[in-house]
C-alpha cells in the first residue's frame, strides 16, 4: 500500500518529503488522472503522497517590496486568473486552462512540477523571467523557471524539495505591447495545441528596449531564446519590417515540434509576424489581437 500524508505545516511537509520521498499533491488534476485505475479503485501511485492543498504557507498572491510578485505554489488557476496583481499574460493563460472545475483545483505549482510542454502557465511565466523557490529542510534556493524545467516532464527538483513560491520580477519598464494566443483543441475545456506569448517595450525614440517571445507546445519544453530576442533590442521599431524575414527564419530554428510540425511552425511564424508587424505600426492599444 502507498502511504498518504497530510502535513499541517510546511515545516512538517518538508520533513515528510525528506524522510519518505512523498510527492506533493494539491488539486490532483494531473496525478489523480494519470494514476487512475478504474471506477471505485484507489489510484496507485509509485511513491508516497502528501496532500498540501491546505498548507497556508503555499497559498496566496503578494507583491514584495522590490515590486516582484510572489505566488504561492498551491494557489489555484481560478485565484490567479481573478487577481489584478497578476501580470496580464499569466491571467490570460490561467483563465483558459481546461474547464472551470479544473481551474478551481489545479495549482500553479502543479502546472510547473508536471513540466508538460503543453502546460499553460509555464509558457507565460518563462516569458516574464519567473523563478521558482524550492524549499527543503536544508533551506531554500531560487531557480529561473526556464532552467528549472529542462525537458518534457523533466525538472531540477531534488528528492527532498518542494516548490513553494513563484516569483515574477517586474520588468524595467512596462511593456508597450503584449500578445497571448492559445490554440486549444477546441474553444473551451481544451488542452493547448500551440501557444505564443510575446511582449515588447519601445522607448520615446522608437527604440526597442525589451522584446520577448515564448512558444508553448512547440517542442519538448517551452521555447524561449534570449540571444535571438536580443537581435531586435536596440533596433528602431520602424526597422521591424526589414528585420522580420531573417528574424522569423531564426525563430523557426528554436522550436522543435515533434507532432504536427508544419502546423506548429507555420502558425508560430504567422503569429509572430503579425504581432511584430502590428507593433511596427504603433497602434494605440496595448494588447495586440
Amino acid at each position: 500500500m502507498v502511504s498518504t500524508y497530510i502535513p499541517k505545516t510546511l515545516e512538517e511537509a518538508l520533513i515528510i518529503r525528506k524522510e519518505t520521498g512523498a510527492r506533493p499533491l494539491s488539486g490532483g488534476t494531473d496525478l489523480m488522472v494519470q494514476y487512475r485505475r478504474g471506477i471505485g479503485v484507489t489510484p496507485k501511485f509509485p511513491w508516497p503522497i502528501m496532500i498540501v492543498s491546505n498548507l497556508k504557507e503555499l497559498i496566496g498572491i503578494n507583491e514584495t517590496p522590490d515590486g516582484s510578485l510572489c505566488i504561492g505554489s498551491a494557489t489555484t488557476s481560478s485565484e490567479i486568473a481573478a487577481s489584478p496583481l497578476v501580470p496580464w499574460h499569466v491571467r490570460e493563460a490561467s483563465s483558459r486552462m481546461g474547464a472551470i472545475s479544473l481551474r478551481n483545483l489545479a495549482t500553479i505549482g502543479g502546472n510547473i512540477g508536471n513540466a508538460s510542454p503543453k502546460g499553460d502557465l509555464p509558457a507565460t511565466l518563462i516569458l516574464l523571467d519567473a523563478s521558482v523557490v524550492l524549499a527543503s529542510v536544508e533551506g531554500e534556493r531560487t531557480v529561473l523557471l526556464d532552467d528549472f524545467i529542462y525537458g518534457a516532464k523533466k525538472t531540477l527538483l531534488q528528492d527532498d524539495e518542494i516548490i513553494t513560491k513563484i516569483i515574477i520580477p517586474k520588468p524595467a519598464r512596462p511593456f508597450t505591447y503584449r500578445w497571448y494566443r492559445k490554440i486549444g483543441t477546441r474553444r473551451a475545456n481544451a488542452i493547448t495545441k500551440l501557444s505564443l506569448s510575446a511582449a515588447i517595450t519601445i522607448d520615446e525614440k522608437g527604440v526597442i528596449t525589451d522584446f520577448r517571445a515564448s512558444s508553448g507546445a512547440a517542442g519538448p519544453k517551452i521555447a524561449r531564446n534570449k540571444a535571438l530576442e536580443a537581435t531586435l533590442i536596440g533596433k528602431n521599431v520602424e526597422d521591424i519590417p526589414s528585420l522580420l524575414p531573417s528574424f522569423l527564419a531564426d525563430y523557426d530554428k528554436i522550436i522543435s515540434p515533434h507532432a504536427m510540425p508544419e502546423y506548429r511552425r507555420t502558425s508560430t511564424k504567422r503569429m509572430l509576424e503579425y504581432f511584430l508587424t502590428e507593433v511596427s505600426k504603433r497602434p494605440s492599444g496595448e494588447i495586440i489581437e
Binding site: V33, R36, R37, G38, I39, G40, V41, T42, K44, G98, R181, I183, T185, R186, R187, A188, N189, A190, I191, K193, L194, M260, E262, Y263, T266, S267, R270, M271, Y274
Partner: protein, 715 residues
C-alpha cells in the same frame, strides 16, 4: 378540455430527474452480495493465446473464461451474425477482445489481480487500415480475401458502355475516420439470479437483442433470461449490440458463481475498448457527356469492419443504398465491401452507414461542380430526386420531396447566393451547402420479415394506461413522444399515460430502438392500439389491447438481389454552414448554421429541436475535431481531453426549419428523424472550408493542422 396540436412542446417526462442529477443509473444500483468484475482483454491486435497465468486468487475471487461455458452452450454472441465470441479461446483478432472476467467483492483487489494476470501470445502481423485489410496483410483471416460481406447494385445501362460513351470522367476518393459515441453514461450491465431466471440490468437500446444474443451461451430458453433496461444516459448506436459483449460474460459468470455481478466501464475503457463508427473509403467515378451532363456513376464503397462481422453487413447495405444521396443518376453501379481488419469491431452509430457515403456524394457534387465551373447548388438542383423517381435499387421515391422548398428556406435565411458569390474562393470566408436523406426503419421488408413488432396498451381501473413496448428511452425523448401519441388518441392528460423502462418479461417485443424506426413504426403501433382501446375505454375497467406490425402495400423488396424499395420512406435534410478560417492559426470559426428537415409531421417541436441541435453539432464535430486514430491496433485517443467533441462554445446557435409533409404510414404523419439530422452538416462544413481556403477536402476530420498542410502543399 381543448386538445393541443400534437406538435406543441411539452416538458419531457425525464427532464427534471436528469437535469437535477437525481436520476439513478446502473452504477447507482447495488444488489445483496453483489460482486464487481473487470474484463481481461487481449493486449495484442492479432495472435494466438499461448498461456494465461492467473495469479493466486483470494477466497471469493474468480477468473471466468470460455471454460466456464457449460457443454450444452455455445461460445458465441448472436448479434446479426454469430461470429463474435463471448470469450476468446485461442485466436485473438483485436486489442480489447474479451478473454476472461475477474470477479470479486473488492474493486481494489480486482485491479491488483488484473495487473498481475499475465497472458502470453504468439503474435501475428495485424492489418489495421482498409488498405492493409484489402491487401490481406499478415494473411487473410476471414475467407481468403478478408472480405466479410459484399454487395453490388445497378441501375440503367451497363457501366462499361456508359464510360465508353463518356466525353469526360471525374473521379475522386473520399475517406472518413473512426468516431466514438461518447455517450455520457458509459457501458454498464449487471446480472442477477431471480427465481429460476437470470435478470440482466443493462444500459442499452435493445433489451430483446441482449436476450437473443446471450441465451445460447447457456442454451436456455429466452424466458429464462429477463432483460430490464436501466435508465440509459445516451447511446447513439453504441448500446445497440455492444451491451451483449458485457452481458454475455456476466451471464456465464453468474451461472458459475451464483451471485449478482456488475460491470461498469470507466471512460477510458469505454473509449479504448468499445465499438466505433466504421471508417470508410468511397471512390466515385462519374461519366460526363460533352455538355457536362452526368451519364452515370460507378461507386466503390469499402467499410472497415474490424475483427468480427456483428451487424456490419446491414451497415454496409445502408451505406450502399445512400451512396447516390438525394440524386437521380441515369445509370449507376455501386459495389460495397466490408473488410476484416484487426481493429475493435465497428458497429452501429447514428446514421448506420449512411453518413459515410452521403459525405462522399456531397463532396463529389461540390468538386464536380467546380470541375464543370458551375455553382454546386445549381448542379444539385438538376438531379434532385422527386416523387416517383427511380432509386439506386430500382425502387421508387414514395413521398413528395420538398427539397426545393427546404433549400429556399435555408438559402434565403443564410443569404447563401450573395455570400457564395461575394466570398469566392480562397478569401478565408466560405459558405457551403449539403443535401441529405435517411431511409426510415429497417431496410426493405425487414420490419415485416425480421422484426414483426408488437405493442400493447393496458388500461387500469383507475383510468391510467400503461404503454408496454420493448422500445427504450436513451435521451432522445421517446418516452415523451410515445406518451403524447397515446394521450392524444385516447384524449387523456399526459400524466395518465405511463411508459416505464422495458422489462422483457412484461412487454412484447416492439423491435430494437434503432434505425430511426421508433416514432415511425412503434409510434404507429401505439397509435393503432390506442384507437382500439379508445372504443372500449369508457365501458371497460381493466383490459389490454395488443397490435402487430402491418406492412403497407406497394413496397416490393427482394433481400437477395437488393432490388425494390429499400425503405418505406425517407426523411430529408438540407444544411448551409458558413465559416471563417483564421489567417494566423487556421482555426475554423463557424459563423452560421442553417438547416431544414422534412420529418413528416413533428410529434413534439421541442424534441425535434433537441434532435436537430444534437445531430447537427455531432456531425460538425465528426467533420472538424473528432479524430480517433488507430496505431498498430490501439486507439490513440482514450479520454475526453484527447478525443475532442464539441462544447456549446464551438458552434453558434443554428437556425432550424421544418417542412410539414405528413407521412401516410406514421403516427400523426411522423417519420424517422433521429439519424437524418446527423447526415449532412459535415459535408456543408467541409464545402465552406474548402471554398475559404480554395482547396479540395475529401477526408474528415479536417482539424486546423490538416488545413495548414492543404494550404502549403495544395491538393
Amino acid at each position: 378540455m381543448a386538445k393541443m396540436p400534437i406538435e406543441t412542446a411539452v416538458r419531457r417526462s425525464d427532464a427534471i430527474a436528469k437535469a437535477s442529477g437525481t436520476q439513478k443509473y446502473l452504477s447507482d444500483m447495488t444488489f445483496e452480495g453483489m460482486l464487481y468484475s473487470r474484463m481481461v482483454r487481449s493486449s495484442i491486435p492479432r495472435g494466438i493465446i499461448k498461456n494465461i497465468e492467473v495469479p493466486s486468487l483470494p477466497e471469493g475471487y474468480y477468473f471466468i473464461s470460455h471454460k466456464d461455458i457449460p457443454p450444452e452452450g455455445k461460445n458465441e454472441l448472436w448479434m446479426i451474425a454469430k461470429d463474435w465470441k463471448c470469450f476468446a479461446e485461442n485466436e485473438v483478432r483485436y486489442v480489447g477482445e474479451t478473454i476472461g472476467l475477474l470477479v470479486g467483492p473488492d474493486r481494489n483487489v480486482l485491479a491488483n489481480l488484473l495487473d498481475d494476470l499475465i497472458i502470453t501470445y504468439e503474435e501475428h502481423e495485424p492489418a489495421i487500415s482498409i488498405e492493409e485489410g484489402l491487401a490481406c496483410k499478415g494473411g487473410a483471416f476471414v475467407n481468403d480475401t478478408n472480405i466479410f460481406c459484399e454487395l453490388e447494385i445497378k441501375t440503367g445501362d451497363e457501366m462499361d458502355e456508359v464510360f465508353n460513351r463518356a466525353d469526360r470522367v471525374f473521379e475522386e476518393t473520399y475517406r472518413t475516420g473512426f468516431q466514438e459515441h461518447v455517450h455520457l453514461e458509459t457501458n454498464s450491465v449487471a446480472c442477477v439470479q431471480e427465481d429460476d431466471a437470470f435478470v440482466i440490468y443493462a444500459s442499452a437500446q435493445c433489451p430483446f437483442y441482449i436476450r437473443k444474443s446471450i441465451a445460447g451461451l447457456l442454451n436456455i430458453p429466452y424466458d429464462k433470461i429477463i432483460v430490464r433496461q436501466t435508465t440509459t444516459g445516451g447511446a447513439f448506436g453504441g448500446k445497440e449490440h455492444f451491451p451483449d459483449v458485457l452481458a454475455g460474460p456476466l451471464l456465464v459468470a453468474v451461472n458459475t458463481i451464483g451471485k449478482p455481478i456488475q460491470m461498469v466501464f470507466d471512460r477510458s475503457e469505454d473509449m479504448e475498448f468499445s465499438v466505433k463508427r466504421h471508417p470508410s473509403r468511397t471512390i466515385i467515378k462519374t461519366a460526363l457527356d460533352d455538355k457536362g451532363a452526368i451519364l452515370g456513376m460507378d461507386i466503390d464503397v469499402v467499410y472497415n469492419v474490424g475483427g468480427y462481422l456483428s451487424c456490419s453487413f446491414v451497415v454496409l447495405q445502408r451505406g450502399v443504398f445512400h451512396a447516390t444521396g438525394c440524386y437521380g443518376i441515369p445509370s449507376t453501379r455501386i459495389h460495397g465491401r466490408g473488410v476484416a481488419t484487426n481493429t475493435f469491431p465497428s458497429d452501429a452509430f447514428r446514421g448506420f452507414g449512411a453518413p459515410q457515403t452521403l459525405f462522399a456524394i456531397e463532396r463529389h457534387m461540390d468538386h464536380l461542380a467546380n470541375f464543370l465551373g458551375r455553382d454546386p447548388l445549381e448542379l444539385r438542383n438538376e438531379y434532385l430526386l422527386k416523387k416517383g423517381s427511380l432509386t439506386n435499387t430500382n425502387g421508387h421515391v414514395y413521398e413528395e420531396v420538398k427539397l426545393p422548398e427546404m433549400i429556399k428556406q435555408i438559402t434565403d435565411a443564410s443569404d447563401y447566393w450573395r455570400k457564395a458569390k461575394e466570398y469566392g474562393r480562397g478569401t478565408g470566408k466560405g459558405i457551403g451547402i449539403a443535401l441529405y436523406n435517411h431511409g426510415g426503419a429497417f431496410t426493405g421488408n425487414g420490419e415485416q420479415m425480421i422484426i414483426k413488432g408488437h405493442a400493447r396498451l393496458h388500461k387500469h381501473s383507475d383510468g391510467t394506461v400503461d404503454i408496454l413496448v420493448g422500445s427504450t428511452e436513451m435521451g432522445q425523448g421517446f418516452q415523451t413522444a410515445l406518451r403524447k401519441i397515446a394521450a392524444q388518441v385516447l384524449d387523456l392528460d399526459l400524466h395518465m399515460i405511463n411508459y416505464d423502462n422495458p422489462d422483457t418479461s412484461k412487454v412484447p417485443d416492439s423491435g430494437p430502438t434503432a434505425a430511426s424506426r421508433s416514432t415511425m413504426i412503434v409510434g404507429k403501433l401505439v397509435e393503432r392500439a390506442a384507437l382500439l382501446m379508445k372504443k372500449r375505454y369508457d365501458s371497460e375497467e381493466d383490459f389490454h389491447v395488443e397490435v402487430e406490425y402491418e406492412h403497407p402495400e406497394g413496397f416490393p423488396w427482394d433481400q437477395n438481389t437488393f432490388q425494390g424499395d429499400a425503405y418505406l420512406g425517407y426523411g430529408w435534410g438540407a444544411a448551409v454552414v458558413e465559416v471563417e478560417v483564421d489567417a494566423l492559426t487556421s482555426e475554423v470559426e463557424t459563423k452560421g448554421i442553417w438547416v431544414s428537415h422534412d420529418v413528416g409531421h413533428p410529434i413534439d417541436e421541442l424534441l425535434i429541436r433537441g434532435q436537430v441541435n444534437g445531430g447537427v453539432i455531432q456531425s460538425l464535430g465528426y467533420a472538424s475535431m473528432e479524430k480517433m486514430e488507430n496505431k498498430k491496433g490501439y486507439f490513440k485517443q482514450n479520454s475526453m481531453s484527447d478525443y475532442i467533441i464539441p462544447t456549446s462554445m464551438d458552434f453558434p446557435k443554428m437556425e432550424s426549419f421544418l417542412v410539414d409533409n405528413p407521412y401516410e404510414f406514421g403516427p400523426f404523419g411522423a417519420k424517422g428523424m433521429g439519424e437524418l439530422v446527423f447526415n449532412g452538416a459535415d459535408a456543408a462544413f467541409c464545402e465552406a472550408v474548402s471554398r475559404a481556403i480554395d482547396r479540395r477536402i475529401c477526408e474528415i476530420p479536417i482539424p486546423p493542422e490538416t488545413i495548414v498542410e492543404l494550404e502549403i502543399h495544395g491538393n
